[in-house]
């Protein structure tokens, strides 16, 4: 598939090929809507089902049945008639639903009558001293290469953080024959107090039994220590992990403290976002069909607020049902009420997980020389001092320090900068706001821009 082979317009453009995008594209295509799904990875599956059509890890017990459940979604999407394009980077989406996409070095602007953003989540920034050292990665990164390439951590490996993904990855590494020196659990003990009222709900959710089994499986094989601080140390690469419980030599440190919505594309499209105090992140304001504040643009999956992979698929279906209703009212559709009920079941117990695994302030709001912005190498002390000087928000902070202006476009510093400003100025993240994001939300080359077709009117407009 090449960009030049794309039609100039589609009824529905779905952005992202994880569970939400796959489910949405399948449902819409089956209902007779011309659907294209763009995904920037080499294969579909998103993060949770990464490499689902190509993983070399064929022993199913290693990645587990919850991973392999993605196979049905991928097959369904393939058979649905939706055009699925991998290696397609969407770098622009405007309120008129013009989608800027690059495939193999060529760009096109595609018109969409409806858009479903299903760009999912990313791991929450984990700004500790030394987190930029080679040898320090996210747990998600290690899981990505385990799923897609069958790469297993080798050498002295330490995990640090909180949240279900950390325990799942630990179990997967152990099942694959890998070894972990230790898990440094950063979950604050007092979180249990706020989580406890939600325990009855959580006990009814499928995650309860699975979670307990996972904890037992990992704790039987790996020493787990509660820590209040974590730092990575080394000269040019990681050599030691330092915590309040001591120092340990390490070759690989895997960090994780939950996931947050990937907001860049939805924000650049102009969708209104709000602060979620329980999940400590910004998320789009959506109605019950996951429609955003921009007409014709919906946000489904974890990009709509974190609820997990199976909930993401149901959200994708609901967004697709709404899109099909608008585009092709005569189409036969599944009953949205039954989808809503399934979604409700999947979301049960989320409040318990959110409160239990809420990262401590000290792991979200660093101090001193710890880097906040990895791209432009801006420290916590600089951000705090600039806020004290009177800088009121992240956009002004860019002008002072360039934080958020590197290639990652704030993805790895945005939440930290917002929270640091809020703390220093005794304000709130909701009041401080987030970076103003504009297209291109992914870097593209001039050659890609130059490959856009030029109409006669456009040519005449610049000719003298």
């Amino acid at each position: 598939m090449n960009a030049v082979d794309l039609a100039p317009s589609y009824d529905l453009v779905v952005i992202g090929g994880g569970p939400a995008g796959l489910a949405a594209a399948s449902l819409a295509a089956r209902a007779g809507v011309t659907t294209v799904l763009f995904d920037e990875n080499p294969g579909v599956g998103g993060q949770i089902y990464r490499g689902i059509t190509s993983t070399p890890v064929i022993n199913r017990s290693i990645l587990g049945e919850d991973y392999w459940a993605g196979e049905a979604l991928a097959n369904e999407a393939k058979a649905s008639g939706a055009l699925i394009v991998n290696g397609a980077t969407v770098w622009s989406l405007d309120p008129e639903r013009i989608v800027g996409v690059s495939i193999a070095g060529k760009a096109r602007m595609i018109e969409a009558r409806r858009v479903i953003i299903a760009t999912g989540s990313q791991e929450r920034p984990f700004p500790i001293p030394g987190w930029t050292l080679p040898g320090v990665m996210t747990a998600g990164a290690a899981q990505t290469v385990l799923k897609a390439q069958g790469l297993l951590p080798d050498g002295r490996t330490v995990m640090a953080g909180t949240g279900p993904l950390m325990w799942l990855l630990a179990a997967q590494i152990l099942r694959a024959g890998g070894r972990l020196e230790a898990i440094l659990d950063t979950t604050p003990r007092r979180n249990l107090l706020r989580a406890a009222p939600h325990l009855p709900d959580f006990m009814l959710s499928p995650y309860f039994a699975k979670g307990l089994a996972l904890l037992r499986e990992v704790k039987a094989k790996v020493p787990v220590r509660r820590v209040a601080s974590v730092a990575a140390a080394g000269d040019g690469k990681l050599s030691e992990v330092v915590s309040d419980r001591g120092r340990m030599p390490a070759d690989l440190l895997l960090l994780h403290q939950g996931v947050v919505p990937n907001v860049n594309l939805a924000l650049a499209a102009g969708a209104t976002h709000e602060w979620n105090e329980r999940q400590l992140c910004f998320q789009p304001v959506l109605d019950q069909d996951f429609s955003s504040s921009v007409p014709g643009i919906a946000v489904a999956g974890d990009g709509a607020g974190i609820a997990g992979g199976t909930a993401a698929a149901e959200r994708g279906r609901l967004a697709a049902i709404a899109a099909v209703r608008a585009l092709r009212p005569e189409a036969r559709l599944p009953d949205p009420q039954s989808v809503r009920q399934r979604l409700q079941r999947e979301e049960m117990g989320r409040a318990f997980l959110d409160w239990l695994n809420r990262p401590a302030d000290s792991f979200r709001q660093p101090e001193g020389e710890t880097l906040v912005c990895r791209c432009e190498e801006v420290t916590a002390a600089q951000v705090r001092a600039t806020a004290d000087m009177g800088c009121e928000g992240p956009n002004q902070m860019k002008a002072f320090l360039r934080c958020g202006m590197g290639p990652c476009q704030g993805r790895l510093c945005g939440l930290t900068v917002t929270e640091l400003i809020a703390t220093q100025r005794k304000s709130t993240p909701a009041a401080v706001g987030y970076y103003r994001l504009r297209p291109p939300v992914k870097p593209i080359t001039l050659a890609e821009l130059a490959s856009l077709p030029i109409s006669e009117a456009e040519r005449k407009a610049v000719e003298r």
Partner: protein, 97 residues
Amino acid sequence: MFKRLADAGAVVALTVDGKPVQARSCDTVAAALLAAGIDRCRTTPVTGAPRLPYCLMGVCFDCLVTIDGVGSRQACLVPVHEGMTVETQQGRREAGR
């Protein structure tokens, strides 16, 4: 840092900074670099600090390398192909030059 657990497909020959590296057909450039045990894929423009991939899912941009002559590509998103040339990106920017 990583070892291969499973057979990730046919061998694909790349060069990284002019040296031959054997990747597998399932690899992205970033996975191939990690499997080959390289110690950095770039140095930062501000302080010249070494970096390796951090997120491997397209958000951190620490895996930026030059691929087949095009600079600052996200190594974690690009699949390898036979004969691909990869160069690590070195050096601080020299503002004003």
